[in-house]
């Protein structure tokens, strides 16, 4: 294309290859959160935000401090963590076993996938009353709710991960005379691991949602029960303190899975 002045003079080639490569800027992310909290605090102090509806961050921090000091925080947290660990582990273990079976064996594939397709869309929260009837108001119903909510996505993630293991690697294992068990242990499982760990991220978030829901329906202790009780008393600083704890719990779980990925998937 000739230059606008039509002279044909020597000119630099314009650079057109930039952009479309966003970078992570962790400090910018942290600064955004700090600015938002500061604006929230300033708004509350200026009287622009009604304290009953949304207490100031300082009030939430004070409520959190008091909770920690009184031992309430650990009391509620320990109950929730035990349910979360029990429900998630149970659902994950069962989901991995069924997912692996469906990914490896023709006989297991269609039956298990049809059951998953039929039951996965049911909102698990709707099943809590049924689980209370089945397992009682105690820990059983809460753990069952979390486990069921974790089970289906784990099956789906595991089947997808096993299906995604490159076929040529399995053929390579067969060509070297590896036994079926060795192929599963040395090729299929490590190959499926990235997909399975991605599934863990999803199921951890689902487990926290279901934990709170189950605790709100029938529990004396636990973060969900605490948030509900605080709401009933219009104690919004304590309510938000409970929500902050849940947010931190989510971040912590995500960080742990990230560490697990870095450890197990160092080869990537």
């Amino acid at each position: 294309m000739p230059p606008p002045d039509g002279s044909g003079a020597e000119r630099p080639v314009p650079f057109r290859g930039g952009g479309f490569a966003p970078h992570a800027r962790p400090l910018l992310g942290a600064a955004t959160l700090v600015v938002l909290v500061a604006l929230w605090q300033a708004g509350a102090m200026a009287g622009l935000i009604p304290r009953l509806f949304l207490p100031a961050p300082a009030a939430v921090a004070a409520a959190l401090y008091n909770l920690a000091l009184s031992g309430q925080l650990w009391l509620q947290m320990s109950a929730s963590l035990a349910r979360l660990a029990g429900g998630w582990s149970l659902g994950t273990l069962a989901g991995l076993l069924v997912g692996l079976a469906a990914g490896l064996f023709t006989l297991a594939r269609s039956p298990s996938l049809s059951v998953v397709a039929a039951l996965f869309p049911i909102p698990k929260i709707a099943l809590v009353p049924l689980f209370i009837i089945w397992f009682g108001i105690g820990e059983g119903s809460k753990i069952a709710t979390i486990a069921l909510g974790v089970f289906f996505p784990t099956v789906i993630a595991t089947v997808g991960a096993v299906d995604g293991v490159p076929r040529n690697l399995i053929r390579m294992g067969q060509s070297f005379g590896l036994s079926r068990a060795a192929i599963v242990a040395k090729i299929v499982l490590p190959g499926a691991l990235p997909g399975i760990l991605t599934g863990f991220r999803v199921t951890a978030a689902i487990a926290i949602i279901l934990l709170v829901a189950a605790e709100m329906i029938g529990a004396e202790r636990g973060i969900g029960a605490f948030v509900l009780a605080a709401g009933n008393l219009y104690d919004t600083p304590a309510l938000l303190a409970g929500i902050v704890v849940l947010s931190v719990l989510g971040l912590l779980v995500s960080w742990l899975i990230g560490r697990l990925e870095r450890w197990l998937l160092a080869w990537r």
């Binding site: 294992g173 060509s175 005379g177 080869w267």
Partner: protein, 261 residues
């Protein structure tokens, strides 16, 4: 009698549903020799190699093996793959060790065998590297080390150099020739590269366009080690092979472009 395995295909026919890709294949890989399979795209070379190694059941015909399998051979029919097929979560040494695990070798013997194979293929300094850290040529060296580690009676090599650049291909072809000549392993080598075929083959089977049939077998009576690719006799053979294949290759190329149009 030369050491090694003899592998013979008798009356092989293979079809994918209605599409016959191989028909009436009678062919033998003689002990200690390299049989090269060449032919135009889609003639069924790789399919035939899969059948020869028992990785694919033919629609008709049989593959027979006979002859001596040396003591210590852990996997008589061993493949080297075009795409290397390395496990990305294992180091170079871990990939070479894969087929030795569970073979009843003591740990020290296994480690020593891995070291020996890495030294043989020039990979000793990369034992702890991940496959993603290696060039294509280095990855294929790992594939070769892994294959040789099981002391195979027959190597089945499926276009092992086709994913590499021309210079690496030439270097590795020379290395393959030296390794195969030294081990005296029966080898079936699939390629579409005539230079490679002439460099490495004792006998070159030219397959016709689909359905693949053996059109001609060309023997090269020169030892693998020391073959000079500027040798007029070898150049003449290369030209003769191309003359045999040219029309089929052009027709196959037209077929491919028609299919993609």
């Amino acid at each position: 009698m030369p050491r090694g395995l003899r592998l013979e295909a008798r009356g092989i026919r293979h079809a994918y549903r209605d599409l016959t890709v191989l028909d009436g294949i009678d062919l033998a890989a003689e002990p200690g020799q390299v049989l090269v399979l060449i032919g135009p795209s889609g003639c069924g070379k790789s399919t035939l190699l899969s059948i020869l190694g028992g990785m694919l059941r033919p629609s008709a015909g049989v593959v027979l093996q006979s002859g001596e399998v040396a003591a210590g051979c852990l996997n008589p029919l061993t493949y080297v793959f075009q795409d290397f097929a390395l496990l990305p979560w294992r180091t170079v040494a871990g990939n070479v060790a894969l087929a030795l695990e569970g073979a009843g070798l003591p740990r020290a013997a296994r480690a020593s065998r891995v070291q020996e194979m890495l030294a043989l293929t020039g990979l000793s300094a990369f034992a702890g590297a991940w496959p993603r850290q290696l060039s294509g040529g280095m990855r294929q060296r790992v594939g070769i080390a892994r294959a040789l580690a099981v002391r195979p009676a027959c190597l089945l090599m499926d276009e092992p150099l086709s994913a590499l650049d021309a210079q690496t291909r030439d270097v590795l072809a020379d290395e393959f020739a030296a390794l195969i000549a030294r081990a005296g392993t029966t080898t079936v080598y699939v390629t579409h590269n005539l230079r490679e075929a002439v460099r490495l083959g004792h006998r070159i089977a030219v397959l016709s366009r689909r359905p693949g049939r053996v059109r001609e077998i060309v023997a090269i009576d020169r030892p693998l080690s020391g073959r000079n690719m500027a040798d007029p006799d070898l150049l003449r053979i290369e030209a003769a092979l191309w003359a045999l294949m040219r029309d089929d290759a052009a027709a196959a190329a037209r077929e491919v472009s028609d299919a993609s149009a």
